[in-house]
Amino acid sequence: MLGRVSRRGILATGAATLAAPALAPGAHAQGSAARIGLILPLTGPFASTGRQVEAAVRLYLRQNGESFGGRRVELLVRDDTGTAPEVTRRLAQELVVREKVRALAGFGLTPLAFAAAPVATEAKVPMVVMAAATSAIVQRSPYILRTSFTLPQVTAPIAEWALKDGIRNAATLVTDFAPGLDAERVFKERFTAGGGQIPLELRTPLRNPDYAPFLQRVRDAKPQALFIFVPSGEGAAVMKQFAERGLPEAGVRLIGTGDVVDDDILNDMGRPALGAVTSHHYSAAHDSAENKAYVAAFTAAHPNMRPNFMSVGGWDGMHLIAEGLKATNGAGEGEALLNAMKGRSWTSPRGPVTIDANTRDIVQDVYIRRVEERGGQFWNIEFDRLPQVRDPGT
């Protein structure tokens, strides 16, 4: 018995090592396909982000016929596990050097985008950031374009709204990395400039956070509202503790950027999320024909998922690349492709968007939304809109 197992063991590992050289040198002939390298966290703690973006990109290709400007698009998907920037960088390097990709895309978190940026610059390959949201990312390389959002962009509106709604005293709770610090800084600036006070500023660690002690401190400080930013997927844990700690009963309102009421898990959060007011660029409940079609197609392809703001970044990123290819008759590479993508405007499922020709960053509507129950499901219902918001800069 043991002998058989061991032989199988040899076979398994042998096959793995043998397969490597055979696959290695670009197995297919180059053909005429335009290759796009999609680097995402598909396993590990930030896998949900990667899955959403990947699903949207594939959906786009399925719905729009995979050929743009007479050029078929071939997607190469790579997993960077979300926590290892040097892997992201190596994958970017490989995709450029070995697979000769026309564009790099994806990038789930800020450090991962930072690490890959020099590759884009040196190789002169456009890099479409579909998820990471620190303001400074687009400055790391002249080849970076962004189709997600920036935290200052979506944070400023909620600070203004809170002031308008009579909130004068708010605590902040953000995740301790660049996007969180962006959010904290912008909220503080806007909120205090309008006469608000911030009695308590809390930062939670990026990895393995436990929100209970932090929220207990908020409860003990009793502000009128708590501003929250946490990465996509973490919202549920915060929301649970927010309710369990009895913050609503203590009169603390929950406000924040839309990350905390991520559509992907909003339904599972249930009642505790009701009434949370957030500002963001996308809600699955956005009222437009484009979005209805998008949500319907997405949920048809993935019955257990609801598209969230990460997915729409992937969808629009793929659209941007496709439009760039079309505009260059499928021949665009490097600088030419980059220029063809700059300055483009279109109607996304989230509403009208533009990639600013100078900053290469996205300009979009930002909505103020409230979590409500509609037909047994929970949605972020938009009730106010700030048209064409730019990143206020660093």
Binding site: S6, I10, A12, T83, F114, A178
Partner: protein, 310 residues
Amino acid sequence: MRLALEAGFWLLALASYWLLPDQLPLLSQIAIGALFVLSLDLLVGYAGVLTLGHAAFFGLGAYAAGILAQQGWGEPLSGLLLAAVLSALLGLLTAPLVLRGGDLPALMVTLGLSLMLGEAANKLPGLTGGADGLLGVEIWPIFGLFRFDLYGHTAFFYSLAVLFLLFLLARLITAAPFGLALRGIRGNARRMPALGTPVRARLVAVYALAAAYAGVAGALLAQTTQFVSLDVLSFQRSAEGLLMLVLGGLGALYGAMIGAAAFTFAHHVLSEMSPLFWQFWIGLALVALALAGRGGLLGLGAAALRRWRA
């Protein structure tokens, strides 16, 4: 025969440059991983000291080289040296805490120390860049001649050369009385003093040596990728190193390097074929190998060789 095999190994390593010309970044990463596992092998395989926190030294080396370059001194070799010295110092400092006896306490103290260091790096964003990583690392050309290029030519030769030199050194050390004393300690630590071996001093020395090796590996990673993130100090890195070591075969320098190459390669190929579920196949291979259990890949290879000859 043995010499031919050894020469063949290094020729193959060098030839991979021409065999896989567009996989150079991966090959550099394998060389760096091999150096890290080599360092673990000195400690775990030869001296029998268990550790789950070896990434502490790897990470310290990476940050040392990275910060040196970021502050304006991008000369690569001095970066390696600084990393080696600092890591060895940390090794000397922590050795007394780790070598207090017992496998489990050693595992957990090393783990705890590496976690503390990771948390410290996380909490000092002014120095390390915190969770965003260390930006602005610029490495000068090696000897002022060879620039680190996008295709990874320089990085490949640089990593391989450092690995080769440090391997030679390790080979000398393990074959010398020092190395024999280590094996003796691993075999029976109580009897060694009777032979006149100062057990503790030997262990402290090998601990510092392994730390320096790991520091150099970390510095190589920082220099070839020109980026450092908290991940260099992570528990996963320590555990993965141990995994590669057991996979390749303990107590044999080639086992360490083969383990690193096999694991990194398998990981790479599998995650390319199945970006979502590659962990499943890696896991399956590990379980199968553990059940087979004949001293890792090297042991299996040796067994196969014996059978073939018989």
